[in-house]
């Protein structure tokens, strides 16, 4: 049990640091993934076929390939791709992708691929009458989008996005392949060093459950807010 304590001999502080990194990874990826997902959803709903194809192809690829491969590709592949792209444009050099950025890139790419489906579904679920009512009083397309469509879309998409958030919270553990010291990697290392793998895995599992419970609570309060005015 001392092993779970804080201080020099214990691993408690390391686990907490790992958990904090896990949350950081997930939050940043959520912000980026949500934005990108919105654009993908718009692309899928677009009347311009190539945009639709791009979005379809993208989701098909991401959904088809194991997450941990995507992270590896984000880490090792992006630099190659950027360098190749730069060479194509006749430029020198490329960029260096830090591990954290690669993990965020991979995780948000995954979130976007799934999130865009949720957003697209919510988009379509906003009753058409609501939009027509907007047209009939002379609101512009943009006004209809952000005054009427978006608030209602948000309400409908929240539960689905909440689920994806939980999935991502757990997927952060895949960042361990990039040797990022997130929660699971810390637990794994601690387990090996102390020869107590079960204890640390259980501890990590408990922390994940706690994070899940907190997320669920927050989601419920968001939903309650978004649903104000809705019949139960």
């Amino acid at each position: 049990m001392e092993l779970l304590g804080f201080g020099a001999e214990g691993w408690g502080d390391d686990l907490l640091r790992g958990a904090a990194l896990t949350v950081q990874l997930a939050v940043v990826s959520l912000a980026i993934g949500l934005t990108f997902g919105m654009f993908l959803a718009l692309a899928k709903l677009s009347r311009f076929a190539p945009l639709r194809w791009f979005a379809q192809g993208y989701t098909l690829f991401i959904r088809g390939v194991p997450e941990f491969l995507i992270l590896l590709l984000a880490f090792f592949g992006t630099e190659k791709a950027v360098a190749a792209g730069a060479a194509l444009l006749g430029l020198e050099g490329g960029i260096e992708v830090p591990k954290f950025a690669a993990a965020v890139g991979g995780l948000s790419a995954i979130f976007a691929a799934y999130g865009c489906e949720v957003i697209r579904g919510a988009w379509l679920a906003v009753p058409n009458g609501q939009i027509e009512a907007g047209h009939s009083v002379g609101l512009s397309r943009w006004q209809i989008f952000y005054r009427i469509r978006l608030p209602q879309l948000w309400r409908i998409a929240l539960p689905g996005l909440g689920n994806l958030w939980l999935v991502m919270l757990k997927d952060t553990s895949l960042a361990a392949v990039l040797a990022i010291d997130e929660l699971l990697r810390v637990a794994k290392v601690a387990g090996e060093v102390t020869r107590q793998p079960l204890m640390f895995l259980l501890a990590a599992g408990a922390i994940y459950l706690l994070l899940t419970a907190i997320s669920d609570k927050m989601r419920a309060s968001f939903e309650a807010r978004a649903n104000r005015g809705m019949a139960r």
Partner: protein
């Protein structure tokens, strides 16, 4: 058992022989390994999805039961197995519980001894938790009148569940189930960390020989191919389920 194993090997040798000319060199050199792995992934996927569907259905039914204890147990099942990463579950069972050794585990040892069996069991349980949640959602979206109509015809709750609610819930839940199946396929790649030579396990071995990222691209293509197959299969079923 070994007959079955030989059959699988024969299949992948056959496939590789047939595909010899048309596949890239980097792939062809290790083709039987990729296909061996592909078959293990496929086998795990089919078994765990079928078993998971059965268990998940039972859990979903328990989730909407009138018995509080059953409801709570089913809720806990879903919460714990959806709330922790699959990788953690795999390791807790394989390295964690498995490290107790044959003396303590007794007759359970043959199960814990095998990475394949542990992988299958954890995948099954994990997917059952998701399926239960999806089905529960499906049942929840049905108009209450469907159940009331059944009850007022003199059906018991069990009969109504079996003949009226579940069949409709499956229809509602099918697209979501499709997503889950794809996620399961990808999750299955993690069994390579508990010594199972599935597609990912084989890929990582091949990778170790040349350290070429190409290796991962081939396996990504195989996974995407499998996803495509699954999606097509799901669509076909969905078409049949949908009432004109």
């Amino acid at each position: 058992m070994s007959l079955y194993q030989d059959l699988k090997y024969a299949i992948s040798d056959g496939v590789c022989y047939a595909a010899q000319g048309v596949t890239p060199e980097g792939f062809a050199a290790y083709c039987p390994r990729y296909i061996d792995g592909f078959l293990v992934t496929l086998e795990l996927l089919l078994l765990s999805s079928a078993l998971g569907l059965m268990i998940g259905t039972l859990v979903a039914v328990a989730r909407v039961s009138r018995q509080r204890a059953l409801r709570t147990a089913a809720w806990a099942w879903s919460y714990v197995f959806r709330g922790t990463p699959l990788l953690v579950q795999l390791w807790i069972v394989y390295y964690g519980l498995g490290s107790l050794g044959p003396e303590k585990l007794g007759i359970l040892w043959p199960f814990f001894k095998s990475g394949w069996a542990v992988g299958l069991a954890v995948l099954t349980i994990n997917t059952s938790a998701y399926i239960a949640e999806i089905l529960r959602g499906g049942i929840g979206t049905l108009p209450p009148g469907q159940l009331e109509a059944a009850l007022s015809c003199g059906m018991s709750r069990g009969m109504a569940m079996r003949w009226i609610l579940l069949p409709q819930a499956f229809r509602v839940a099918w697209p979501a189930y499709g997503n889950e199946l794809i996620l399961l396929m990808k999750g299955s790649a993690l069994v390579s960390t508990i010594t199972v030579m599935d597609l990912m396990g084989q890929t990582r071995s091949v990778f170790a020989r040349g350290y070429s990222l190409e290796t991962y691209m081939y396996s990504a293509v195989l996974y995407a191919l499998l996803a495509l197959l699954l999606t097509a299969g799901l669509r076909a079923v969905e078409k049949r389920l949908r009432v004109a």
